[in-house]
């Protein structure tokens, strides 16, 4: 059977010289298949909106889809963060559309950028650093009130504050691992079942009782079709969940006074 992990293997597509970035050290900026995948996702979004962002009062199909995505994230940011959601809407929308495009491209191409831990960790760190920067910019040192729930007796605070700090620190980890785990899991399962189709089919050619392999092969094929549908849902859902959690975390620091 083909190695189900082979699809996650990164390899260079275009070799570029290493660059010495300040603070990061020497970085190999070669274009890998992962970078190609990210670039294609970003390009796809740009092409989509170049076509969809028409200004017709009566929208066409593509424009309707574009406006639907816009409204989806706009409502999300508005309902969670409140009227200040407008400020963070472009950031949340960029996260959402970028992850969505990478997830969907993974359904059509052999490589899924969001199944790379490096990608999800970067996105999670980007989000949480934005939250921290916004938190300090809005509240100054009042940011630390985030870890001190109001209306709690002092002896409970001894217990609560460490829990709050840990829960905050765990946020980027869960954010990164949730997306990574969903993507890698789905694609591995797809690959394994697809492998079963071939291996069981080959086994069945042996004849005799092994002919039952054809049945197993057919069941595997059905599973792959069903799982592919499921993976499309997961691809959308995970992008949405990432955007929603980003809004929730931003809301914590934007509306800290009412926390």
């Amino acid at each position: 059977m083909a190695d189900p992990m082979h699809q996650f293997q990164i390899h260079k597509v275009v070799d570029l010289p290493t660059v010495n970035l300040p603070g990061l050290g020497v970085v190999d900026l070669s274009i890998t298949n992962s970078v190609v995948s990210m670039g294609m996702a970003a390009g796809l979004i740009c092409v989509f909106f170049a076509l969809a962002a028409r200004q017709a009062v009566v929208p066409g199909r593509l424009q309707s889809v574009g406006e639907m995505l816009y409204s989806l994230v706009d409502d999300l940011a508005g309902s969670i963060i409140g009227h200040e959601g407008k400020v963070f809407f472009p950031f949340v929308f960029t996260l959402f559309s970028f992850i969505l495009a990478m997830n969907f491209l993974g359904m059509f191409l052999v490589f899924t950028a969001t199944s790379q831990l490096a990608v999800t960790v970067t996105l999670a760190m980007l989000t949480i650093l934005t939250v921290i920067v916004v938190g300090f910019a809005r509240n100054g040192l009042g940011f630390f009130k985030l870890f001190v729930p109001s209306g709690v007796p002092w002896f409970l605070l001894i217990l609560m504050v460490p829990i709050e700090i840990i829960s905050f620190l765990v946020r980027p980890v869960t954010l990164a691992l949730r997306l990574f785990g969903n993507m890698i899991g789905g694609h591995v399962v797809l690959k394994i079942f697809a492998g079963f189709i071939i291996s069981l089919g080959l086994l069945a050619t042996g004849g005799g009782i092994a002919s039952l392999g054809y049945l197993g092969s057919a069941v595997s094929l059905g599973s792959v079709v069903a799982l592919t549908a499921l993976e499309f849902i997961v691809a959308f859902l995970q992008a949405f969940v990432f955007a929603a959690l980003t809004c929730v975390y931003l809301n914590d620091v934007v509306n800290l006074h009412s926390h």
């Binding site: 990164i10 979004i45 909106f49 028409r54 200004q55 929308f93 960029t94 831990l117 990608v119």
Partner: protein, 182 residues
């Protein structure tokens, strides 16, 4: 050169996995490149979306909402205007109707009056003619009645003459007629 390195990496990756190695995601040699490129692409995408595409989409949605609101407001205005005009039209209609009724009744009264005067005039003429006719009849009758007496006296004189052979005087006949009449 590039191909060779790629091949090497792929083979080591596959080998590493076959001997129970970790996921390809944990080959940290690929991390810095991915992180830097991801941040680069993300920033470009963020700038493009926030400065170019999202304002356009949002503007279109806002324009549509404004247009719908304006159209609804305009429709409401037109409706109230139409209602006002309809009320005016109804009032004018009512006014015209009363006016028409008044004119009609006036015309009728005038016609009646004219008819009455004409009838009165006709009746006067007729009455006059009738009176003249009655006068004439009376004169004729009186004349006729006057003649009757002369005829009677003549006849009486003639009869007396025939029966007696003596001609009666006019006074005797006159006396006898007066007595007979009484």
């Amino acid at each position: 050169m590039a191909n060779e390195t790629t091949q090497t990496h792929e083979s080591t990756g596959a080998d590493g996995h076959a001997s129970g190695g970790g996921l390809p995601q944990f080959q940290f040699v690929w991390w810095p490149g991915q992180v830097v490129w991801l941040l680069l692409i993300f920033v470009v995408l963020y700038v493009l979306l926030s400065k170019l595409f999202l304002p356009r989409v949002g503007g279109t949605i806002q324009t549509r909402a404004d247009k719908i609101a304006a159209d609804v407001a305009q429709a409401r205005d037109l409706k109230t205007q139409a209602e006002a005009e309809s009320a005016t039209a109804l009032a004018e209609l009512a006014k015209a109707r009363t006016h028409a009724q008044r004119t009609a009744s006036e015309a009728k009264a005038k016609a009646n009056a004219e008819a009455a005067t004409r009838q009165a005039a006709e009746e006067a003429v007729l009455a006059e003619k009738l009176a003249v006719a009655e006068d004439r009849i009376r004169v004729s009758r009186d004349a006729a009645l006057g003649n009757v007496r002369t005829i009677a006296s003549d006849i009486a004189a003639a009869i007396t003459d025939k029966l007696t052979g003596v001609a009666a005087t006019a006074d005797e006949v006159e006396t006898a007629l007066t007595a007979a009449k009484a």
